[in-house]
Symmetry: C2
Subunit: 426 residues, 2 copies
C-alpha cells in the first residue's frame, strides 16, 4: 500500500506552522512557532486559512464544494466515481487555543492529497479533505456545529440564528457565513453530499498516551457525557452577624455537591467535575444568596452515565434536605456514547501496528466530542487516530505534539486511507 | 433623667427618610420610602447630606469642627467646658446599601440635640454628634477608615493615598476630600480633639434580636475576625480527557477546604465562611488551574480565633498533601476582639431595662466592626445599642427596621447620653 508512497519529511509540520500565521497569538517560548492560536470560527483569520486551503487543493486538481453552512469538501478524483473517503476535522480554534487541535486533522488530509500528487498516485475512489465549520463552539456557542447540520442532527435555520458570544456586537452564524463568503451552494446534507468514510487524526488532548509511552491511540468511540446546571438560591447575610445555624449558604452547599460528584464518579469509574461556577454577590463578608454551577460528567457507556446521574440526584437531594437552600437541576446538554465503525477501527489498528508496533498502540475512548461523532450519526463508517499531547494539555496556547509524533500519526492516517480505499468495492 | 424630656414622635424616622433623597436607589416596594441607598463616601450625594447636617446642627447653636480627614464634630454646649459626650456613626453607605446602617446612628445623635433644644435642656457637659468618614470602605477600600485615623491606628498620609475602586477614573481620598470641601482644619487626633465617651445606635445587621423577639441589644464588644486569602494553583486540563487520578483540580480542593472551615468553626462555636471565590478559566470543560478565595473567620475571643486558625492551617495542609495543587496562604486582615467600656455597657443596660423591660434586652457581641472599635482603640469609653434588623438583612436595599423599633432604640440612646452626662464629674 502506501509503503510505496514517498512522503516529503516535515512538509506537514511546516504547513501547520505556516498557516498558523492566521491567528497566531500568546507567545510562550523563544521560537517563532512557540505560540498559541486565536482563530475563531468564520473570523477574518479563519477566512484567510479557508481561502488558502481552497487554493492549495485546487492546485492539486481537487473539485471544491462549499456547503450552505460553510463546510469545505476538497475532492481528489479517483479511478472510479463514488462518494469520497474523507479526512476531516476543523480549522477553527478556541480563543486561547493551540496549533494542533483540529488543524492537524485538516492539514494532514491536505498532506495526503499532496502525497498522492507527488507520487502520481490515483486512488480507486475519490478522497476528500473536509473542513467542518465551528467545531469548537467558541464563537458561536454550539460545538460540533456544522457537521451536525450535515448529519441531519441539527436544523440549519436554528443554527443560522445562533449569535456570536465573542464579538462586541454579536452577529449570527448566517451573517458571519455571508460576510466572509462561505455560505456555499451545496446543500448541507449527508444524503445529497455523501461521504463513504470519515477518518480524523487528532491530538489526544489528555495525558494517557504520554504517560503510557504509546505513539498511537486507536480510538474506538467517544464517551457519553452530560452537562447539568445546578442553581442554588439561599439568603445574602452578613458573615459576621449571622449564626451558623441561621444561614442559607449556597456556596457551602455547592462545595458539598462538588465533593459528592467527585466521589460518585470515581466510584463508577467515570469522570466528573465542577469547573464553571458563579457566586453572587461574591463579596468576602456577604454569604452568597446565589451559586450557579455546571456539572460535567462522563462515562464510557450510556448505562454508566445514567447510574452516575441517578446517584448524583439522590445524594444532592440529601444535601439540600433540611436546609433553606432551594435547588434547580437542569440538564443542559447530553451526548450518548459514540461507537466508531469496527472495520475502520481494525484498519487503523493494523496500519498502526505495521508502523509503530502493536506495543506502541493503545485502543482508547475519546474523552472529548469530535466531528467524527457527527459522521457516525450520519452512519458513515468512521474512526479516529490519536497522537500524544504533551502534559495532556489542550485548549491552551502551550498545547504541543512533537514533529516526530505528528509524522507517525500522519503515516498511520495515510496508510489507513489507502487501505480503506483499496478495499472498497462499493 | 430624660423621662422629663419631651420627644417629638416620628421626627427621627422622618429625618431618615427625608435625607435619604441624597442617594436613594433600588426601589423594592410601593411606598416612596421603600428604596435602598447608594451614597458612597465623599461623593456628591454624601456632600449634600453632610452640608445639611452642618446646617441643621448650626441652627441648634452647635459649633461644628471638620477635621483633616473629613470627620464632622457638631458640638452642643453644656453648662461646663469639657470633651464632648459623642453620639457617632456614619452617613456613607454600601453601593447597594440600605437606609439605616450608620445613618440611624448619626441622625439619632442629631435628634438628641434637637430634643435638648426643644426642651430648653442644657447638659452638664458638651454633647456632640459625629459623622465618621468612610466607615463602609466601599468607595475607598479601607473600612472604619477615618475614625481609625482619629484614633491614631492609621497614618493619615497612607489613608490620603488610597484610591477609589468605584469610580471609572479612580481618585484618592485626599482628592475626594478636597473636591467636596471636607478637608477641614482640625487635626484628626483623639488627643487634640478628644471625646469623653462614644455611643452608637446601630441596626443589628443579623437575625438574633428578631428571632429571640428582643427590642434592644446591649452590645458588649465586637468579635475578633480574620480574612485569610487562599490561592490554589493546579493544572488546566480537559474534563473529558483527563483521568480523575491525573488531575490537579483547584476547585475540588477549594470545595474540600470550604467544608473543613465550616466544620472547624462550628466546633469552636465561631463563624466561618467562604463567600468570595474566583475560579479560572471558569469554563465548564476545563479543570480550573487557579482558584482563589477568602476565608472569613470570627470568634468572640482572640484565643478562640487563634484556635480556629491553627486548626484550619493543619487540616488544610492535610487536604493539599499528596496532590499536585500548590497553595498560598495569606492573612489579609485581622481585628482583635474589642471590649466596650463596662460603665457605658451598664448605663445602656439600665436605660434599656427601664424602657423595654429587662426580658426584652439581650447582652450581645457585634459580629461586624464599627467606628466604636476606633473610639475604644483611642481609649474613649464606648458602647453600642442594637435594634432588630428584619430578616437579619443588611448591606442590601431591603434592609429594614420598623419605626417602633427605631423609636425604642432612640429612647435608650437618649437616656444613655443624659445618664452618662449627669454622672460626669470629669
Amino acid at each position: 500500500m502506501s509503503a510505496s508512497l514517498k512522503i516529503i519529511p516535515n512538509r506537514l509540520i511546516d504547513t501547520i506552522h505556516h498557516t498558523s500565521k492566521w491567528g497566531a497569538k500568546f507567545k510562550w517560548g523563544a521560537k517563532d512557532t512557540n505560540t498559541g492560536m486565536c482563530r475563531l470560527s468564520l473570523s477574518q483569520d479563519e477566512k484567510m486559512v479557508r481561502d488558502w486551503l481552497v487554493q492549495e487543493t485546487q492546485k492539486l486538481g481537487c473539485k471544491v464544494k462549499i456547503d450552505e453552512i460553510g463546510n469545505i469538501f476538497a475532492i481528489y478524483s479517483g479511478l472510479k466515481e463514488g462518494a469520497p473517503t474523507a479526512i476531516g476535522s476543523h480549522l477553527d480554534t478556541q480563543p486561547t487555543g493551540g496549533r494542533y487541535d483540529g488543524i492537524l486533522g485538516v492539514l494532514s488530509g491536505l498532506e495526503i492529497l499532496r502525497t498522492f500528487k507527488d507520487n502520481n498516485y490515483t486512488p480507486q475512489y475519490p478522497v476528500a479533505v473536509v473542513n467542518w465549520t465551528n467545531e469548537e463552539g467558541a464563537r458561536f456557542p454550539k460545538s460540533i456545529m456544522a457537521s451536525s447540520v450535515w448529519a441531519g442532527v441539527s436544523d440549519i435555520n436554528d443554527i443560522y440564528a445562533i449569535e456570536s458570544i465573542t464579538d462586541e456586537k454579536p452577529i449570527t452564524v448566517l451573517e458571519a457565513l455571508t460576510s466572509i463568503g462561505y455560505k456555499g451552494d451545496t446543500k448541507a446534507c449527508h444524503k445529497t453530499n455523501p461521504l463513504k468514510a470519515h477518518f480524523e487524526l487528532h491530538i489526544e488532548q489528555g495525558p494517557i498516551l504520554e504517560k503510557e509511552q504509546k505513539d498511537i491511540g486507536v480510538v474506538t468511540g467517544v464517551q457519553a457525557y452530560s452537562w447539568i446546571g445546578i442553581n442554588l438560591r439561599g439568603r445574602a447575610q452578613h458573615t459576621g452577624t449571622t449564626p451558623m445555624d441561621m444561614r442559607a449558604d449556597t456556596y457551602l452547599t455547592a462545595a458539598k455537591i462538588a465533593i459528592v460528584v467527585n466521589n460518585i464518579t470515581k466510584k463508577h469509574r467515570g469522570l466528573g467535575s465542577v469547573a464553571e461556577i458563579h457566586v453572587s454577590p461574591n463579596v468576602v463578608n456577604v454569604i452568597p444568596d446565589s451559586t450557579e454551577f455546571v456539572l460535567d460528567i462522563r462515562h464510557t457507556t450510556d448505562a454508566g452515565l445514567q447510574n452516575i446521574e441517578a446517584d448524583i440526584e439522590s445524594e444532592v437531594s440529601k444535601i439540600i434536605k433540611g436546609t433553606d437552600v432551594i435547588m434547580e437541576f437542569k440538564k443542559l446538554f447530553h451526548n450518548d456514547a459514540t461507537h466508531f465503525n469496527n472495520e475502520c477501527i481494525d484498519i487503523v489498528q493494523e496500519c498502526a501496528t505495521n508502523i509503530v508496533g502493536s506495543n506502541k498502540t493503545k485502543k482508547m475512548i475519546s474523552g472529548a466530542g469530535h466531528d467524527s461523532c457527527s459522521t457516525t450519526n450520519a452512519k458513515v463508517p468512521t474512526s479516529m487516530i490519536f497522537i500524544p499531547s504533551k502534559g495532556g494539555i489542550s485548549h491552551n496556547p502551550v498545547e504541543y505534539s512533537s514533529p516526530e509524533e505528528i509524522e507517525k500519526g500522519f503515516k498511520v492516517l495515510l496508510d489507513t486511507v489507502v487501505t480503506f480505499d483499496s478495499k472498497r468495492t462499493d
